[in-house]
Symmetry: C3
């Protein structure tokens, strides 16, 4: 269904590529605010859309995201000194402010204006929801700030983390879009994980043949997966895909809501962001502790890094006994690494021209199509889905409804944000 | 003698290459039977001729060798669940039988025939001599099963293992064909190894200027190396090369017989198989223990892998003192790693157009020529050497004969399999 | 200022490249004499200008530098046996003398002249100053031996070591030419290192805006950096760059003199040589101990290797606290690793077409120009700077002089070698 040429177009996001140009029109989750914990703390390397960048928080608390390399002789400013309102290259002392403007070239004579002519690439940043967001596109096209619910609730209601995944963003994101694999890959969790165990939803998800229906939304896609529930009823799980790379998972019961962002570092690596929030209450200490320990949709990280303890170099610590017993369906522990292990096993960039898709892949097919169409529309008047913050104010949810409730009504309910308790089961 | 173009043709064995097409006409040692110890045990990754494959033993004990990647979305089935009579992809539950036929796509409706249309590449397998053999060529050309003596004796009479060597198969195989390097590289063993020490053969092999004579056999080549023995006598070591990659080492006295298979994983790595058998008695516990410990032609393996403890990353644990003293001629311990260290030191693919060959390389020259000729004959009526199992039923051997015994008589004796005690000294 | 094409020309030094042809006209520091401590000791791998070579010291103490690979089947002679007056390939016993001449092919019949026709590439070597030098160019153009002062003083007056740096030689050498970065990158040392601390020079070097003046010398460049000193005086640091890759650092007071050679291994790695000598006295035990411990311009090495303990895989053990406090300007410990960390951070080969140069880069600009010009002059009658040993007999030095001393007089003083005490402050 996807040609080799289309696949190339979908996966490449460096400067000047069609998809890279599209993604540069959106605000991008760049790093965690806590990575720049305090003013004048150490700088952090960030790689986005194949660009090597450096982030730091200046004396006034402003976040800078600039070219990693000094304009002068191209050494990495990661070794730079964070000084009053800027970073100084340790090689010859050239200093830059948070906008990448060179403010001092010490070797120049007193009255020199040389430094004024030197400016690094820099991208505007905004902090919301514990995340530093950046915009890498044309300044005149900068959109309004993102308004995802998880980013707008009080800090106490939210937990966010990221991990580095060693494959192209798209095969990771397709996992987030794909509502059908839960019944298999994560089925061990349906029986054992406190977030699922004992819920009606977990029970209904044992139906391995969901019917998928997909509707275009202003933000991207609304994806409904219908499974058999009790007599005369259907169990709907309705998932949101917001352009360009956000996916939202329907919760179970009153549990917190989960979402992901799948952000390209380069064409063979991505940041897998995970966000958890509850719209109406603070997260509980035991919920936070579980997430910090790498449970649920989170993964255990190698301390001091955003790389995972289980990874392809150790076969994800696969446990064949647990796989045999069925407590871990694939033998890999944790939802995050279950997904990551399979997605990385496809190789850094899967060749989609070799795929053999089925009916339950309809959402993935539609998402690819929408990405290609949006990239094709660049430079026209066509609006870009997901650019308007109004499109962010949606939720995923699950419902049990009589079989005869029309689909459109289900989707309409799901896409309308409510301030009341969410209704998943 | 070999042009760059001929070298390329000799070393490349991926799908569609001349040598790859030739090798796909033969049964190929794929993995050890013991790697698939029991029905429904974990699957094993196998790489052959640049193809990524997966092996498993199904509920009925049948061995499957199929494409490593699920037809659906191309994740590795190494993470798959071994279930009743098949393997199930953990992503969406597609199930395949031992022939790679998809038997179940759970997301499809009850009456769907979709799964019938999905089939993975798979290769037929047969088990013989503790080895799973596969055939990767056109089904209509599948030859009879291999009948090497080591594969046909009772299990008690045999020991087989493999190790991964990090270079092209050909430079490894050429070491197995080369009867002259023993007097140098392995000369320490001639004095110290229990298999050689004190034998007449070891003594005679100190003649470093063997005369080589090569005769084409139906299977490949018979290679005679003649050295000086006692007054008026010659010491012959007669080695077999059976197409496409089998070599057999003449034994010393009543010791067990050794052989190798040099099987391409891809163009820069190969499986170095070692086989030991005695035609008329069970191997002794001390013989087995020595081989399991990586002595003789075997190597010490990193537990849980087929990679060697001594390897290029640790300079093969070279012992310069032992090299100086001559107890280890090259300073590397063990016949296997002595060969592997030098062969890997050539780089992954040696450029044979730079070689400077001598008279003792005649067997190597002839083997290359025979490989190229056989590849050139594909599609014609010319028979492929080594395809007929009758050509497998040969032995290597050593003899002391009067100087005036004609060579042809020696070779005739050597190529005739006898059921009596073997006659090496 | 440098185009991509010029950059390519500057950085590539393999056989047949313009810069490679230029460099092959000079004597090249190949390895430390102590790496070949005694006759018939183990051979050592050496990589120079993208050629894989092997060094050994033969029975008579002569140094051989030959092709790493046996002419016969191309195995690495690093596994070779050092025997009487030569090295023997462990595969088939071919023996080579220190000139790469094959002297024995044991498999050949007694009267054979075959070995006479086999010769490995080999390069003449000379030992001076604890260093084995080689000449890789056309024999008829071999220049006189190098006569750098450090190489000519008694052994007791000198310390030499090397380390492997993982980037192109040029960006390393440019650091050695660059007199202005000391005021920044190494400024911590100006306050704390025993070699600098408390000297007038260290005090004056806090002027971060040196004026640079560059004069062509017969050897390469003389580079004068003038800083403010006490009332009405200037502090001059005069650095030598001798073609093709030698740099000399002005000392502080009566301290020993330091120099470097930046020698390409291949286009992405180089040997960073450091040489220290005192022209008129033996080095003191505490000086030697400090250097052996990797202090000053030396680096701590991984035992048994010339690779550094601090390296890019451990972020050079950066100490952000020390960086913050200013005791380590970039947070990296030691002058050598301060330079190496930044130079490696540019990537293996920096793209100079992206640079933004300033007035203090004039020496670097001139050096590049001189290298390109010299490569362009190959094959003409134009003399090559630095080829005549007379051009080696120069020193770097520092002076405090009245502001009105004309520059030419300063340089004239600096370039004249004196046998009296050196005069740096």
């Amino acid at each position: 269904m996807v040609t080799k040429a289309q696949n190339t177009q979908l996966v490449q996001t460096g400067p000047g590529t069609p998809m890279g140009s599209l993604f540069r029109r959106y605000w991008i989750p760049a790093l965690l605010s806590e990575e720049l914990r305090e003013p004048d703390g150490p700088p952090v390397r960030v790689k986005l859309l194949s660009e090597n960048l450096l982030a730091f928080r200046d004396t006034q608390g402003r976040v800078a995201l600039i070219d990693e390399f000094c304009a002068h002789r191209r050494v990495s400013l990661w070794f730079g000194r964070i000084e009053m309102d800027g970073i100084r290259c340790p090689y010859h002392g050239w200093k830059y402010d948070f906008r990448g403007q060179c403010t001092e070239v010490p070797s120049e004579p007193a009255g020199s204006h040389f430094s004024k002519s030197v400016k690094l690439t820099s991208y505007p940043c905004v902090e919301r929801g514990g995340v530093v967001w950046t915009y890498m596109g044309p300044p005149e096209l900068q959109p309004a700030f993102p308004e995802f619910e998880w980013a707008m609730v009080p800090d106490s209601h939210r937990y966010v983390c990221k991990r580095i995944q060693e494959n192209n963003y798209l095969q990771a994101m397709e996992g987030g879009i794909d509502s059908s694999h839960v019944s298999f890959l994560h089925s061990g969790e349906l029986h054992t994980d406190p977030l699922h165990k004992g819920t009606k939803g977990a029970q209904y998800q044992q139906d391995t043949a969901p019917k998928l229906e997909v509707m275009e939304s202003d933000g991207g896609l609304v994806i409904g997966a219908r499974r058999r529930a009790d007599e005369g009823h259907s169990y709907w799980r309705v998932t949101q895909w917001i352009m360009p790379w956000y996916t939202m998972i329907p919760p179970y019961g009153d549990h917190a809501l989960h979402g992901h962002a799948w952000v390209p570092m380069d064409d063979e690596n991505c940041y897998a962001w995970s966000m958890t929030h509850h719209p109406s209450r603070a997260l509980k200490p035991e919920e936070l502790e579980a997430m910090q320990n790498g449970q649920g949709i989170y993964a255990e990280l190698i301390p001091g890094t955003y790389r995972t303890v289980a990874n392809k170099r150790n076969d994800y610590l696969i446990d064949r006994e647990a796989q045999k017993k069925g407590t871990l369906y694939s033998g890999v522990r944790g939802i995050a690494m279950q997904d990551a292990s399979l997605q990385e096993s496809m190789g850094p960039i899967v060749d989609r021209s070799l795929e053999r898709l089925a009916a339950t892949d309809i959402a993935i097919v539609r998402a690819r199509r929408r990405l290609l169409a949006a990239a094709g529309n660049l430079g026209t008047d066509a609006p870009l889905p997901g650019l308007d913050p109004a499109t962010h104010r949606v939720r995923s949810a699950s419902f049990v409804l009589p079989e005869d409730v029309p689909l459109e009504q289900v989707l309409k309910d799901a896409t309308a944000k409510t301030d009341t308790e969410h209704t998943s089961i």
